[in-house]
Symmetry: C2
Subunit: 512 residues, 2 copies
């Protein structure tokens, strides 16, 4: 079976089930039911606080086949996932599904649990490091499932991803389960990715290394969602949680791309009063923000909001009055954490509010411009940010597909070649984001506009920008690098890539 | 059939269904399912904004038997309920259930729709004025249902009260449905009672007289819950929405009661560091707050939180550092609105977080002390705040039963006689709050402690306070007023009084 993008898909995948093929970014938008949540009511006088993880594990229902979930706000400093999976594994529980919003190199101990069959399924929006490698090599019993940030919220809310127990790393928590990420030694800021887990899991456990007096105001996730609170020594390593500062690229090629991307934004007509904008924390993306900042200042433009993972750079723009508001699903650096703690115009949003396609309008629907990266792009503008050129998993959509689908203008900024390989190919190794959501690709050697956007092509033709077809851009790249040979892949599916609406946009196969 | 309190109940009530008798404040606490919400996804580019209510009514599904809901944050200044019911009635829709969190005298036009059979059921937590009178006279086709504030949230979340369309009066709203009560000519502050409606109704319509630029930060109810936004001329009359200031009683008897209630609080041992406290906006209740304020200042006590409908008086205590936080389900005056807008330690809570007994721990569970009023009290400490001495509805639980159930110490402050009638009776006209939740009754002539609280009786005996049995207190009252004769009631049920857990604590019968 093939989906709309021509990707070959099995009709059924063991451990996953029937495959619903991707049929277009907004083809699956009829009325949807959220799952009916079961709640164990808490009576006055009931205690939620326990002094060790073991005590809590004695209380919750552990059984083979259980799904446990984690958020990734502690990023590569997270101690909680390993701590919990180790403890559950020690109890002899098998066939565990680990549903983590993202998995990082710090989670390498998970590989052992994969190897010995304790963890048989992984669900994540992003994966890098040893776990990603193990999944790519089909060490997991069943294929992993890769979601987008909004798609994970959708899957949880719909019940497609039913969580038995959510373990929520909590930089601060009180004894009744009011959680905040704002303060404490493991402060990470907004906890947007943990919200669907807290709202929809059967059982919710807050794990904190910083128990504070009741009530832990301002609250991000409140007591009505939390069954148990446990105090542990450490939930994370601050060095891995937030970076001190996020940096603009100093590379002249990167700066050139940023300048060109800004020219595209200007030509589009979207840089104007009330504009909204999102960009990542990468060096080129931040350089685009820096260019935009100067233009907004010069022209006296005040935007409505900037969104996403929030960086100090966007906070600076917010504080200068260039954006009236920030919408924050996760804080990338300490300046973002501080800003969120100090202004009610810097608002937290849940993963669902950020990107769930099946609520009544996610924030991405309100985005004018998003700046995104790419590992590979095909001539239909499909983008891969999931697998490396050797076919192994080294990332995932995160908010890529969500923002690209929602924004009026989605721009990919990338160097034309990376590690002597061309970015543009006939066929990407994995489709993460469908071409229909991508408007423009900006490289140092040229700009390609999606033919669906004839309006934009016309506007760009009136500029000096080096606009060409994507085929032409591909040729330019291949003149430098030569045509790369295709990777050899087996037929074994190691991961299912779900589009944000729950259909399958691609499968990842084990490299030979 | 009789419930635990000996109240005679029908087993089945036409238009209500089977009656589950009240069996104790915490007898119905097994695992509960929330209802599965249906959502119509919103695609980028879809418009939510309409310029008239009629346009929105053309879009939503109106049919006979529909349930429509409203919040009461605009209190006796609300224009929205009348506007919407009138418009729907004009379209010939019949058999409408109006589920309003409270109904005030301003809603008198509803009487006409009751009389002509357009509105056949009313669900509310509190009712006063002509609608309450009409309900009491059994003008409604079916009995009304009276909830507590937390019980309404429970009923909505569980699906016991399924809302087809929620109409949310919105002091400010943007075109994508982000709602706030903080600003604008109809500002009312926190919108806690509207949250369950927004989260669980099939269709949600925001009605505003103050459309603001996107995004309307800080957001109270966000865009992911709202289907339609409509701009109207006026949602309410500011004079009826919030009072300028809430006033402490000047009546010497009221002040005496407040002083005695404060002595009871002191004797209980609960007035100490980290204490939590709730009191209403009534004159005696505020006088208790004033007494407590002086003690806290003198003794250097800092409380954890004050909660409830928040008054300027509690804001003053918060600003003086006497409470670290405020939890606000509705703002009673403009000072409360301002405080909520300016401090993130003054937090909004939803009606569910406030009092729903079937979530994982409502805020009332964390209350140390609550000060409450009463219309009648029986010798089993059951309290009536729903019906007047002539048997007609003139109030309702609101948060009475919720806070009484949750708080460690619930104190009723009341004059011993009102309008020449004794407050304490053998049998109250209607049970609103069960005696098991009430700890102490404080009147100007004496204090009665619930015999369940032998610990408290011992503590109070060590003071000079005039502690007596409730029977003795009743005799004191009857010496002044004589024994009142019982009201004659028919067998016709005009309203079902649900306890917060959905069981029936009483029914209200039509006075003869």
């Amino acid at each position: 079976m093939k989906n709309l993008l021509g990707r070959e898909l099995p009709e059924y995948i063991e451990g996953y089930g029937d495959v619903n093929p991707f049929e277009g970014a907004f083809s699956n938008m009829e009325s949807k039911a959220k799952q009916a949540v079961m709640v164990k009511p808490v009576t006055p006088g009931d205690q939620k606080l326990y002094n060790s993880l073991e005590e809590v594990l004695d209380k919750v229902e552990l059984k083979d086949g259980i799904t446990i979930s984690f958020h990734h706000h502690l990023r590569n400093g997270d101690h909680v996932l390993n701590m919990v999976v180790d403890a559950i594994a020690k109890r002899g529980v098998k066939d565990i599904t680990v549903a983590a919003s993202s998995i990082f190199p710090v989670h390498s101990p998970l590989v052992q649990h994969i190897e010995n069959g304790v963890v048989t399924k992984i669900v994540a929006n992003y994966m890098s490091g040893p776990v990603a490698k193990a999944v790519s090599m089909r060490r997991l019993k069943y294929p992993a499932i890769m979601h987008t940030h909004g798609g994970r919220a959708r899957a949880i809310e719909s019940g497609d991803l039913h969580i038995d127990i959510a373990f929520i790393a909590s930089p601060t928590c009180d004894e009744y389960g009011n959680i905040s990420g704002l303060f404490g030694k493991s402060a990470c800021g907004a906890l947007g990715y943990a919200v669907p887990d807290a709202e929809y899991a059967d059982t919710v456990v807050a794990i904190t290394d910083n128990l504070v007096p009741y009530p832990n105001c301002p609250i991000e996730i409140n007591q009505t969602y939390v069954d148990y609170v446990v105090k542990v020594e450490s939930i994370g390593d601050p060095k891995g949680i937030v970076s001190g500062t996020t940096q603009i690229t100093k590379d002249p090629i990167g700066l050139k791309i940023a300048k060109m991307a800004t020219d595209v934004m200007m030509a589009s007509g979207l840089v104007k009063e009330d504009m909204s904008f999102q960009t990542g924390a990468g060096g080129i993306s931040l350089a685009v923000a820096a260019e935009l900042r100067e233009i907004m200042k010069k022209q006296g433009i005040v935007g409505s909001f900037a969104s996403g993972g929030i960086t100090g750079y966007l906070v600076d723009m917010f504080r200068e009055g260039l954006f009236r508001n920030l919408f924050d699903v996760q804080c990338f650096d300490l300046k973002a954490v501080e800003s969120y703690a100090s202004s009610h115009k810097h608002m937290r949003m849940s993963a669902s509010m950020y990107g769930n396609p099946h609520n009544k309008g996610a924030l991405v629907n309100n985005l004018d411009i998003v700046i995104l990266g790419a590992t590979e792009i095909d001539t239909n503008f499909n983008v891969n940010v999931t697998t490396a050129s050797d076919g192994t998993i080294m990332g995932g959509s995160g908010g890529h597909s969500d923002t690209a689908a929602g924004a009026k203008l989605s721009i990919i900024v990338t160097k034309l070649t990376k590690a002597r390989l061309p970015i543009i190919k006939d066929k990407v190794t994995t489709v993460t984001t469908p071409g229909e959501s991508i408007d423009v690709i900006v490289t140092e050697r040229g700009i390609a506009v999606n033919p669906r956007r004839q309006d934009l092509i016309q506007k760009l033709k009136a500029t000096n920008l080096p606009v060409m077809t994507i085929e032409e851009l591909k040729e330019v790249a291949e003149k430098i690098t030569g045509t790369p040979k295709a990777i050899d892949l087996s037929d074994e599916v190691v991961a299912v890539v779900e589009y944000r609406d729950g259909t399958v946009i691609d499968v990842i196969k084990k490299p030979l």
